[in-house]
């Protein structure tokens, strides 16, 4: 599992003292080749963190040799000093690794608006480089956690018994709030030993994130730091079919996205909102997202109240194609709203389990999309009011 599952990668995660708890907070992932192909997607937030600005440049030529990640500070809204700190981090790691700084990708996560303690971060990077190993993926996954309660990793093939095409994909992710599409902050590193050109990687990555991370909308808040980076070493010698690779990558991303939603800050329910019979996929996504962002709906699910009126109130705010008197809504399989009005008794809906499925039939076409979200709980309010993050 994790980013060292594919051949050609080493990683490490160490405690550098950025987190007051003494937990791991600096990770390094290195691609030993023979190829150093890469692609990445970033937050669309215009207030982007310094490492986002830096890493956008790094990946623009399709080559990344190493990724340096830290938790304990987002390095966002930190001005010229913040950018200089990211630059210095890349230079420092590059020298330790014997590569060019312009091939060192940097990610940060934690509180916005504070400068990183460089006197702790740089020695941490030094120690991580010294500890790099092909078994270091787990430690790296731990080092990027913030309010996550567990580290998140995934791989393709998912188990040793699964059929393989001769290559492997590994991944790690962090994030537990500000998830839309990212998290306070969502960081994802994906690795593969497949032989793939940067353009193919880019296409596959965008296809995979569009239907996975982009549809995980825990609390509607878009982060300043969200980054998903994909590295390809070519060490397997296998050049997969691009479509098959994109599907395998989507599977790994779906697993990681699902783990993020399962571990979202303070959530007691995981909610899958499937909108179907939509005129377009965009319509289906828009409707699902509107429901996922209704605090009234999310609080009702926390209270185990199958309040379909709040679902319809959210659907009604969108410009999707539908007739209000042709909307059907089912929760956990019970058709509680039919033709925009009262359906089966709401008492029949059992919301005691973790997973809640909401199925919205727009009766306006044949497209569909699923948005994943969480309920709005006392714990969410507590975690996000009691601590700065």
């Amino acid at each position: 599992m994790s980013v060292t599952e594919p051949r050609g990668f080493r990683a490490a995660g160490v405690a550098a003292g950025l987190k007051s708890t003494g937990a791991r907070d600096v990770a390094v992932v290195v691609n030993d080749g023979p190829h150093r192909h890469a692609a990445a997607v970033f937050t669309s937030n215009r207030v982007a963190a310094a490492p986002v600005h830096w890493s956008r440049q790094v990946v623009s030529d399709g080559r990344v040799d190493a990724v340096v990640l830290n938790s304990g500070g987002a390095n966002a809204c930190t001005g010229p000093q913040g950018f200089q700190n990211t630059h210095q981090t890349a230079e420092f790691a590059a020298e330790a690794l014997g590569v060019s700084a312009t091939d060192v990708f940097v990610c940060s996560t934690g509180l916005i608006g504070e400068q990183l303690p460089m006197d702790k971060l740089l020695p941490g990077v030094r120690r991580a480089v010294d500890l790099l190993s092909d078994g270091g993926g787990r430690a790296a996954a731990e080092a990027i956690m913030t309010t996550d309660s567990v580290s998140k990793t995934a791989s393709y093939p998912a188990t040793q018994d699964d059929a393989s095409e001769g290559y492997t994909i590994g991944g790690m992710a962090k994030g537990a709030g500000m998830l839309a599409p990212g998290l306070a902050t969502m960081l994802v590193v994906l690795t593969t030993d497949a032989v793939l050109d940067p353009a193919v990687l880019d296409t596959a990555l965008r296809a995979a994130t569009r239907v996975t991370f982009d549809r995980a909308d825990s609390d509607g808040c878009m982060s300043t730091n969200d980054t998903v980076v994909l590295l390809a070493s070519g060490a397997s010698g296998v050049r997969p079919d691009p479509v098959q690779f994109a599907e395998a990558l989507t599977g790994v991303c779906a697993s990681l996205a699902h783990q993020l939603i399962e571990d979202a800050e303070g959530a007691s329910h995981t909610i899958a909102i499937r909108t179907f019979n939509a005129a377009t996929e965009d319509d289906a996504e828009m409707v699902g997202r509107a429901v996922a962002r209704s605090n009234l709906f999310k609080a009702a699910i926390f209270g185990a109240d199958p309040n379909w009126g709040r679902v319809l109130a959210a659907v009604g705010t969108t410009s999707a194609a539908f007739e209000p008197d042709r909307l059907d809504v089912a929760m956990n399989g019970v058709q509680i709203c039919r033709d925009g009005g009262i359906g089966e008794p709401r008492e029949l809906v059992d919301l005691t389990g973790r997973l809640v499925t909401v199925e919205i039939n727009l009766n306006a076409g044949s497209e569909a999309a699923t948005i994943w979200t969480n309920d709005l709980t006392h714990e969410y309010v507590h975690e996000n009011s009691a601590y700065s993050s």
Copy 2:
């Protein structure tokens, strides 16, 4: 105060048994003329309640003789039966009042997705008609409350000492959740004894609601029932200057909107988000609304944490004109973010009071707008998870 302050209006509020608490739940407001001019604005939610569909037709000719309002049931998502119930309510009130049903405006508020108990509602309307008086405004304001903790009324002139132009405006409002621009559900009735034609009323009402109710965004959830109706009796014989009237009306609406935000479900802070130096007023409004809808920011304010990073993260999601490194943010007068980076120490911000002012300087022009919202609290989650509403 309230809707019977202007000459030419009678009102009543009674308990008809729609609320299980036995509190007042049916109100009637009658315009005795000589004019029966009217204008109204409604929710833009496409899943609109039956009384919204009905009342849109009623007001379309600029004439309304009476308004019937009920709490204890929204009559939304209730299908053809729901529309028939609204129609029957109007017919019943019209007969009792000796007017035409097509001049009877109807408003409902309460739980979505349940039919109204007509066997209780109609006798309540009958009793309210019997009790109509020119001192009934207070009782009517009480009868439209749902989760409101206090009734909301306002008038122009605001006090007897204020200068008057010889005419009067009165108003009542309800709403405490699903406030954007309305509330579970926002209903507002405004009355005036000024002499004004329907077209002038309509222009003034749209101008007033645009900068008051439309900018009160408590929880980002738009209701199916929001309605603001303005009735003019002409009983003062005074025909005011349209601009002066619009200003006076805006003052009454601002007072009612402020009372709604002060009483919003579970809120412990009232937050005024003023965006200034914007390129356009739309930009200023968009930025304020994005911040007002950030759960992370709202939870931070509940925790008395001046987390300006969450403000910038929200601003960054908009398409407003600004440069990220030229954003300034002050909270309660302390400039905690300067040039998109760290400003004064966050410890200097005192968030213990009810009112929080957030001032966002876009440094991109000369326009401004203020959005009013609330913090995200345990009480909000509790009220919206423990009970259906």
